[in-house]
């Protein structure tokens, strides 16, 4: 499959997400740990967090918030901007995903690919205990 076809798959996935309730969510990333002090290691201080927008994203099922589909192009731009090795490392480093002011913990991620080209990521989420 040529690059043109790979791009088409990515664009098709993005269009499908937009047309099926695609919305923006926020990936909450912790700042680098403070060096030279043990305060964070002892739980005395917490790191700063930065919310990075991911768009488009949509829950896989209308009535469930356990699986979130995210556009691969949105993730790719974050990986490039933040110099992460892979999407998996990005998601493992994140503190969670913020949807409607609720922070969901990312418990896993699956990459959907077409001929080796990621076109969508499925994040397994755990809602906070209320």
């Amino acid at each position: 499959m040529g690059n043109r076809c790979k791009d088409a798959v990515v664009r098709a996935a993005e269009a499908a997400l937009r047309s099926n309730g695609g919305r923006a969510v926020l990936l909450r990333m912790p700042a680098p740990a403070a060096s030279g002090t043990d305060a964070e290691q002892l739980g005395l201080t917490t790191p700063q967090f930065q919310d990075l927008p991911l768009y488009p994203a949509a829950f896989r099922k209308n009535l469930s918030t356990s699986k979130l589909l995210v556009s691969a192009s949105a993730v790719a731009s974050l990986i490039g901007a933040r110099a992460f090795n892979s999407a998996e490392v990005l998601f493992e480093t994140a503190a969670g995903v913020v949807v409607d002011d609720v922070l969901y913990t990312i418990t896993g991620s699956v990459t959907y690919q077409a001929d080796g080209e990621p076109y969508c990521y499925c994040l397994a989420l755990r809602a906070p205990v209320r």
């Binding site: 912790p30 740990a33 403070a34 002090t37 290691q41 002892l42 201080t45």
Partner: protein
């Protein structure tokens, strides 16, 4: 209780760094000795392999005496997948090395340390020595656990301290 927990972590981390300086982890971009307290880290960090993960479980207080004695049980989880260059076939030896490191760290004499109050670190101040010490018993190794390609173990140690006046 919190001061005893903080002091034990600091002692363990310092001894581990002295025994094997190469056992390190990188957490949020900063390299540090390979030991962490689960309740002080992001939830996503707790399954980190090749390091010692401290988890405080049971607590008991004995009010008899001038100062109450507090006993805290600390579980120390660790697991390894071995060396990737050896296709993980040395994971048993890798676990044995972690066993030995932990035993040397916890069972080294003295099995006690002066207790300190670390809350000042939040404001850039230094830790403040307290009047009493913490002390701990022998390390008890649990059964070997196998999870996917990892082999691991949970060891347990009981950390004791006196509850000083005004201490949380």
């Amino acid at each position: 209780m919190q001061n005893a927990k903080d002091t034990f972590y600091e002692v363990l981390r310092g001894r581990l760094a002295a025994i094997n300086p190469e056992r390190t982890i990188v957490l949020r971009g900063v390299e540090r000795p390979g030991v962490l307290v689960e309740e002080n880290e992001l939830i996503t960090t707790v399954a980190l392999p090749e390091c010692f993960r401290l988890r405080w479980t049971q607590a008991a207080a004995d009010p008899n005496g001038a100062l109450a004695t507090i006993a805290l049980e600390c579980e120390i989880d660790y697991e390894t997948a071995g060396n990737a260059f050896n296709s993980g076939m040395d994971r048993g030896r890798s676990l044995a090395a972690m066993d030995a490191e932990l035993q040397s760290t916890v069972n080294a004499t003295p099995q006690s340390a002066p207790k300190s109050n670390y809350t000042g670190l939040a404001n850039g101040a230094a830790a403040v020595p307290m009047s009493t010490s913490i002390w701990w018993g022998p390390l008890v190794f649990g059964k070997t656990k196998i999870t996917d390609d990892r082999i691991g173990r949970t060891a347990t140690v009981v950390v004791n301290s006196f509850q000083e006046a005004g201490e949380l």
